[in-house]
């Protein structure tokens, strides 16, 4: 019960943070509040038993994207200009998209339903045979690094390339700016 209450409170605080991000004109403040939002999101995910997603959200949402957004701010300046058109059309699009997503969740199996398709296909095999076949105690690690090793290697290559690309983009403007270090 208390756990459900804590998750509900975290979701309410996240909604407040989202409103604050929309109303805030200073982009520095937006980045800081965005980091807060990610921390709250990660805590809520951990409370919902998704430890690996929580770790990713904390690392990517609060860590990497904060740094990347700050790098982007370096290029574009830190004050948001007033939008040239009204907010009605974007609001309508966001509302429709959100409602579609909510409608989509009705097609999902109930939360932690043991008869859900995802729990009846390969998952039991990973859970039962995984520790024996790979020697890795953590099932998620066993699946990612062993059963889907090549898949993960490809993913890591893509992420690494993206990271190098972003660094190259954000580094570039530094040099003509002055006697900047290489």
């Amino acid at each position: 019960m208390i756990e459900t209450g804590a998750v509900a409170a975290l979701l309410a605080l996240m909604a407040a943070a989202a409103v604050a991000v929309v109303r805030q004109r200073n982009l520095f403040a937006v980045v800081v509040i965005g980091g807060i939002y990610s921390f709250l999101m990660a805590t809520a995910l951990a409370a919902l038993d998704a430890a690996d997603v929580a770790m990713t959200e904390a690392a990517v949402g609060a860590g990497v994207s904060t740094v990347l957004l700050l790098g982007a701010l370096h290029l574009v300046g830190s004050l948001e200009v007033k939008p040239s058109s009204g907010a009605a059309l974007p609001l309508a699009i966001v509302l429709v998209a959100g409602l579609l997503v909510v409608y989509g969740t009705y097609g999902l199996p109930a939360f932690s339903d043991p008869q859900a398709p995802i729990h009846r296909h390969v998952a039991p095999r990973y859970l039962v045979e995984g520790p024996k076949e790979t020697g890795v105690p953590n099932v998620v690690t066993a699946v990612l690094a062993s059963y889907r090793g090549f898949d993960t290697l490809g993913e890591v290559t893509v992420v690494f390339t993206a990271g190098v690309g972003v660094i190259a983009l954000l580094r570039r403007r530094r040099r003509p700016g002055g006697e900047g270090r290489p």
Binding site: I2, A20, A42, T43, A47, A62, G63, L70, L73
Partner: protein, 96 residues
């Protein structure tokens, strides 16, 4: 329920610190509030993990702690180097 008062208190702390993050007025007030929120989120996470009976997942809280520092230092370093138009050199005899 030995965890209930602590969880309620930590959620209230989160809400109050978020009020400071929204009010500002300077960027530093927001960064300070964000830092406090990171610490409190970490504590809340640790307590929630004990509540749900998985105390060995405290590593997650460690990751939060590290990222909290990285985020704060990144914001400050950027503020110093980027906006003020100075390179982040360390003067002799100064702290970093």
């Amino acid at each position: 329920m030995i965890y209930a008062p602590a969880i309620v208190a930590l959620v209230v702390t989160l809400a109050l610190a978020m009020a400071r993050a929204f009010l500002g007025p300077t960027l530093f007030d927001r960064a300070l509030a964000a830092n406090a929120i990171g610490t409190v989120a970490m504590l809340l996470l640790a307590v929630l993990e004990f509540l749900t009976g998985r105390p060995e997942y405290t590593d997650l809280a460690l990751v939060y702690g590290l990222l909290n520092i990285v985020g704060t230092i990144a914001v400050l370093k950027f503020f110093r180097v980027g906006d003020l138009g100075q390179e982040g050199t360390v003067e002799e005899g100064e702290s970093r």
